[in-house]
C-alpha cells in the first residue's frame, strides 16, 4: 500500500515525459493526484502496521503530513489544468520589466510535479533516517525545475539560490544523520527510526546533541526558519502560483518532519529540554524576521512567503514548548498549509489579471475581480488567525501553553510579533482589495476569473473555517497520536 | 672527544655544501661549473685582504660580520649531529638556537642599515619582513617536535626520534619536515625566496646587505652563511634519518652523506623552479607556518 503511494506519482511522472498531447498529460496529472488522494484516504481509514526494520511505514506523524501533502497536491493539480492553459495562450511577458520569456516545456513541468509528489510522499513514509534524507534532497532537486518554469533571469536567480542553499543545508543534515549514527555505534542502533527510538536511552548524549544541531540547521534551512530562510522569499515569489503553494504548504512541512524525527530521538534520549530551547529560540527568531519584513513589503507574493516563515516559526515555537502546544502546532500546520495554498492560488489569479507583483499597483480587487477579492480578503482573515479559523485555535493553544509553562517573555514576544504581522498584512490586503481599479495598463482581453482556479482555494478556506468550528474525530486522533510521538503529553 | 670532532667536521665541511649546490646547478644548466672547493679559496683570499670602510659607517658596520659569525658558531654548538648530543645541549636550547640565528640576522641588518645606502636598507627591510613569517613557522615546527618526543633540548629531541616514532606519527613528522625545509630555503636565501646568483641589487635580499663589506668581513659573512646552511640542514637530516646504529662512524658517515644529498636536492630544486615574486614570498612562508600549526595541532590532539 505504502509503496503504491510512492509508485503511482512516480510512474505517472515518468510517463508524463513521454506523452506529447497537452490535454492527456493534464488529465494524467489530475487523475494521478486523485488516485494518490484516494490511496491516502484509504491509509487514513486503515493504517497499515509498521513493520520494524522496514524502510517505509506510517505512524501518526507521517500520516498527518502525508494527508496534508496529498490534499494540497490534488488542489494544485486541479488548479494547474487551467493555469497551464492560460500560460499556453499568454506568451511570457515579464510583469515588471516587460521582457519576453519562454516557459518550460509542459511535459517537464508536469513530470517534475508528479515526481515531486512522489518524493514528498517518500519523506512522509520513511522510517529510516538515511532514506528520509535522500527523499528530502530529492524534493529539492525535483522542485528546482518547477521554480524555473518561467524562463527568465529572476526565476533563474531564485532557482539557483534555492538549489544551492537548500542543498548545502541538507548536506549538513546528512552530517547530522551520521552523527546520530555515531551516537548509536555502541548501542548498535543504526539509523533505523525504530531501533534508534528503542535504544534511545543508550545513545551518547554529546553526539545526539551535535546531531540534533546539524539536523536542525539542515532541515531548518529547507523549512525556512530564520536565519536560514533567505532562499524562501525568492523562490516563492518567482515560481508559478501552484508551485509556490506546494512549496509553502507541503514541502516546508516535509522538512519540518525531518526535524521532528530528530526531536523524537532526542526526546527518547532524555534531551527534550535541550531541543525545546532551540525550537523556541529559532521559532521566535523566525517570527521576528517575518514581522520585520512583512511591514515594509512591496511584493504580495513575497509577503505570503514571509507569512510562511512566520508560521514555520509558530510551529517551531509550539513544538519547543511541548505539551498541549504540540497539538496546537500540528493543527496550525494543517490549517496553515490549506490557507497558504489557497492564498497562493488566488495570488496567481491576481498576477494573471494585473500582470504585476507590486502591491502598490494592485488596487480595487473588489471592483475588478469581485470573487477573487472576496477570497483574498477571506484568506487574510484566516491566515492571521481571526476566529473562526483553524489557525486561531492553533495559535491560541500555543499561547495557552506558553503562559502555562511560565514563559512570559516568550509569550509577550509571540503576541507582539503576531500583532505586528497582523498590522502589516492588514495594510497590504486592504490596500489591494479596496480602492479604485486602475483604468490603463492591460488590454481589453482580460483573463478574468477562472472558476476552476478559484474553487480549490475556496474549498481550502472552507475546510479551514470548519476546522475552527468543529474538529473531526479522525483528525483529532491523528494529531493526538502525532503529539504523543513527539513527546508532548496529551 | 667525538663531540669536538663532530664540531670540527661541521666547520670544515660546511662550505662544501655550497660547492655541491653550485655543481648540481651547473650540471642541470649544461655547464662545467665552478670547482667544488671554490668557496674555500675565496675565503682564504678574502682573509688576506685589507678591508675598506666607508667614512660614513660606524663600529656597528664592523661589528656586524663578527657578531653574525659568532652567533652562528654558537648555534652550531647546539645543533645535533647525526642524532647525537652536541656539546652545548641543555633543556630549552631550541629557543637559544632560534634567538642566536635571530641575533645574527639582527647584526647583519644593523650593519646594512649603518651604511645608509638605499639598496642595503631595502635588503634589510625585506630580510626582516620575511623573517617575521619564517620565525613563527620555525618555532612552531620545533614546538611540535618537542611535544611529539617529549623532550626540550634539540639533541634529545632528535635522539628520541626513532623509526617507531615515525611509524606512529608519520603525518606530524612529515609536516614538520616540510615546514623546516621551507624555512631552510628561506633563511638561507635559496631559490623560491631569493636568488643567490642575481646581479641586480633591486631584486636581491640577502646579498645586497653584504655589498659594502670587503676583505675578512666579507669572508666572515660568506662563511657564516655556509654555517647557517649546515645548521638548518642538519635539523632536516636528523629528522629524516631516524635510524641510529651503535657505531659512531656509520652514523656520522650516513649523516654527512645525507647533508650532501640535501644540498644536491636544493641544487635540483633551484634548477627546476623559478623564483617567486616578492609579493608571493610571504605566501610560501605562510604555508610553512600553516604546516607547523597543523603539525602542532595534530600532535596536541593525539
Amino acid at each position: 500500500m505504502i509503496i503504491l503511494l510512492m509508485l503511482v506519482p512516480l510512474l505517472a511522472g515518468l510517463s508524463a515525459f513521454l506523452i506529447s498531447d497537452d490535454g492527456r498529460r493534464r488529465g494524467l496529472l489530475v487523475s494521478a493526484s486523485a488516485l494518490h488522494l484516494a490511496l491516502t484516504i484509504l491509509v487514513f481509514v486503515a493504517r497499515p502496521e509498521i513493520i520494524p526494520g522496514d524502510w517505509f511505514g506510517l505512524d501518526a506523524l507521517g500520516l498527518l503530513f502525508l494527508g496534508i501533502t496529498s490534499v494540497l497536491f490534488f488542489g494544485a493539480s486541479v488548479y494547474a489544468v487551467k493555469y497551464l492553459s492560460f500560460e499556453k495562450y499568454d506568451p511570457g511577458e515579464d510583469s515588471d520589466e516587460g521582457f519576453i520569456f519562454n516557459n518550460q516545456p509542459e511535459a517537464v513541468f508536469i513530470g517534475c510535479l508528479l515526481l515531486f509528489l512522489s518524493a514528498m510522499t517518500a519523506v512522509t513514509v520513511s522510517r529510516h533516517l538515511g532514506m528520509l534524507w535522500a527523499a528530502v534532497e530529492a524534493t529539492t532537486l525535483l522542485s528546482a525545475p518547477l521554480i524555473y518554469f518561467h524562463r527568465h533571469k529572476r526565476s533563474l536567480e531564485a532557482t539557483w539560490k534555492y538549489l544551492l542553499i537548500c542543498s548545502v543545508g541538507i548536506a549538513l543534515a546528512l552530517m547530522g544523520n551520521l552523527f546520530l549514527g555515531a551516537a548509536g555505534i555502541k548501542a548498535g542502533a543504526g539509523l533505523d527510526l525504530e531501533s534508534l527510538l528503542s535504544k534511545a536511552a543508550a545513545l551518547d548524549p554529546a553526539w545526539v546533541k551535535a546531531a540534533f544541531l546539524f539536523l536542525f540547521v539542515g532541515y531548518g534551512t529547507k523549512m525556512g526558519l530564520a536565519p536560514f530562510h533567505t532562499w524562501l522569499p525568492d523562490a516563492h515569489s518567482e515560481s508559478p502560483a501552484l508551485v509556490s503553494a506546494l512549496l509553502s504548504g507541503a514541502l516546508l512541512n516535509c522538512a519540518f518532519l525531518g526535524i521532528l524525527r530528530a526531536a523524537q530521538v532526542c526526546a527518547g534520549a532524555g534531551l527534550a529540554g535541550f531541543t525545546g530551547d532551540i525550537f523556541i529560540l529559532f521559532g521566535l527568531l523566525s517570527l521576528m524576521t517575518a514581522a520585520l519584513f512583512i511591514l515594509g513589503q512591496r511584493d504580495y507574493k513575497r509577503m505570503l512567503a514571509y507569512s510562511s516563515i512566520e508560521h514555520m516559526g509558530i510551529l517551531s515555537l509550539g513544538v519547543g514548548l511541548g505539551g498541549g502546544a504540540v497539538y496546537g502546532a500540528l493543527l496550525n500546520s494543517v490549517a496553515h498549509s490549506l490557507t497558504k495554498a489557497g492564498l497562493f492560488f488566488v495570488s496567481g489569479v491576481i498576477l494573471a489579471a494585473y500582470k504585476t507583483k507590486h502591491i502598490s499597483e494592485v488596487k480595487g480587487l473588489f471592483r475588478r475581480l469581485p470573487k477573487t477579492g472576496v477570497l483574498w480578503l477571506a484568506g487574510f482573515f484566516l491566515i492571521t488567525g481571526t476566529p473562526p479559523s483553524g489557525i486561531f485555535l492553533g495559535k491560541l493553544m500555543i499561547l495557552k501553553a506558553t503562559l502555562a509553562g511560565g514563559h512570559y517573555v516568550a509569550a509577550a514576544a509571540y503576541l507582539f510579533f503576531l500583532a505586528v504581522v497582523f498590522a502589516g498584512l492588514g495594510r497590504i490586503f486592504l490596500e489591494m482589495t479596496f480602492g479604485e481599479a486602475p483604468q490603463a495598463g492591460t488590454s481589453g482581453k482580460l483573463p478574468g476569473e477562472s472558476r476552476q482556479m478559484l474553487i480549490p482555494a475556496a474549498c481550502f478556506f472552507v475546510c479551514v473555517i470548519i476546522l475552527g468550528l468543529y474538529m473531526p474525530g479522525w483528525l483529532s486522533d491523528t494529531i493526538a497520536g502525532a503529539q504523543r510521538l513527539i513527546g508532548g503529553a496529551v | 672527544m667525538k663531540v669536538v670532532a663532530q664540531y670540527l667536521m661541521v666547520l670544515t665541511l660546511s662550505p662544501l655544501l655550497l660547492g655541491v649546490i653550485n655543481r648540481v646547478k651547473a650540471f642541470f644548466g649544461g655547464r662545467k661549473g665552478i670547482p667544488l672547493f671554490q668557496l674555500y679559496r675565496d675565503l682564504f683570499k678574502l682573509l688576506h685582504k685589507t678591508p675598506v670602510y666607508s667614512r660614513s659607517t660606524t663600529w656597528l658596520f664592523r661589528a656586524g660580520p663578527i657578531v653574525g659569525l659568532g652567533a652562528v658558531l654558537c648555534a652550531l654548538a647546539i645543533v645535533p649531529f647525526s642524532g647525537r648530543h652536541s656539546f652545548l645541549a641543555f633543556d630549552g636550547d631550541l629557543i637559544l638556537m632560534v634567538y642566536l640565528l635571530g641575533l645574527a640576522r639582527f647584526a647583519t641588518v644593523l650593519a646594512a642599515l649603518d651604511t645608509g645606502s638605499s639598496f642595503e636598507d631595502m635588503g634589510a627591510s625585506r630580510e626582516v619582513q620575511f623573517a617575521v613569517f619564517a620565525e613563527p613557522a620555525f618555532f612552531l615546527a620545533l614546538a611540535a617536535l618537542a611535544r611529539g618526543t617529549g623532550q626540550l633540548s634539540l639533541s634529545a629531541m632528535f635522539a628520541g626520534l626513532t623509526p617507531a616514532v615515525w611509524q606512529s606519527a608519520a603525518s606530524v613528522l612529515a609536516l614538520v619536515t616540510a615546514a623546516l625545509f621551507i624555512v631552510f630555503l628561506a633563511e638561507n636565501s635559496r631559490v623560491p625566496v631569493d636568488d643567490p646568483n642575481t646581479h641586480l641589487e633591486l631584486t636581491m635580499i640577502h646579498e645586497v646587505m653584504a655589498l659594502d663589506h670587503s676583505g675578512p668581513d666579507l669572508a666572515f659573512i660568506l662563511y657564516g652563511a655556509a654555517l647557517k646552511l649546515w645548521a638548518l640542514g642538519a635539523l632536516i637530516s636528523c629528522a629524516v634519518l631516524p635510524r641510529h646504529s651503535a657505531s659512531w662512524f656509520v652514523d656520522s658517515g650516513r649523516f654527512i652523506l645525507m647533508m650532501f644529498v640535501l644540498a644536491a636536492a636544493v641544487g635540483v630544486l633551484e634548477s627546476i623552479i623559478a623564483r617567486l615574486r616578492f609579493l608571493k614570498v610571504p605566501y610560501l612562508l605562510f604555508t610553512a607556518f600553516s604546516f607547523s600549526v597543523l603539525a602542532l595541532m595534530f600532535q596536541a590532539a593525539r
Binding site: 524502510w55 544551492l164 552530517m175 551520521l178 554529546a206 | 612529515a174 605566501y283 600553516s290 597543523l294 596536541a300
Partner: protein, 225 residues
Amino acid sequence: MHTTTAELIIVAIILLDLSLAVSGSLAACIRLAAAQGVIAAILPLLAGSGAPESRAIIFSSTVILLKGVIFPWLLTRARVKANARKDVEPFIGYPASIILCLGAFAAASWLGTRLPLPETTRVAWIVPASLATIFTGFLLITTRAKAITQVLGYLVIENGIYVFGLALFVEQPLMVELAILLDIFVAVFVMGITIFHISREFDHIDTDELSQLSDWHPQRDGEAE
C-alpha cells in the same frame, strides 16, 4: 599500520583543504576537490582489520568513479560551456583564507575533544578533519564569485561529510548509501545545467550579479513606479 595510513589520508585531506582555500585557478580547484573525494573514498577500505568486505569495495569504487571521474568531467564541461574565466576571483586574499582555515581547524579540534569517538575506531582527527573540510566548503561558497566554485564548495562539504561517514563507517544499508550518492550526483548535474542557463542569461556566471531578488533594495520599487 592501517591507522597510520588512515591518519596520513586525513592529513592529506586537510592539506587539500588548505590548497583549495588558496588555489587561484578554477581548473586546479576542480582537480583538488576531485582528489580529495578520491582520497576520502579509500578510507572504508582501511576500516576493520582484515581484508575489506565486498560491500566496502563496491561503495568505495562507486564513490571514486563519481567523485574522481564524473564530477570533474561535469564541472569542467560546465566551465568550458560557460566560458568562465580561469581564475576563481576570490573576495579575500591568501593569508586571510589560510588563517580562516587554520582557525576553523583549531575550533574543529576543540569540538573533536568534546565529541569522543567510540572505541571502534582508533583513527584520530576524523571529526576535526571532517568539520574543517565542511568549513572550507563554506569558505569556497561564500568568498568566491563564480557559480562553479559554489558547486565546488558543495562538493567539498560533501567530501567532509564523507570523511566522517566513511572513516567511521556508520552501518547503513547499501541501498540507502547508493540513494544518497544518486542524490548528490543529480544535485551536481542539475547545478551544472543551471550554471549553463545562468551563463546564457547573464553572459557570465558571477553570482554577485545574482542580486535582483532582495528585500534590501528600495530602488526596485522606484524603478517600477
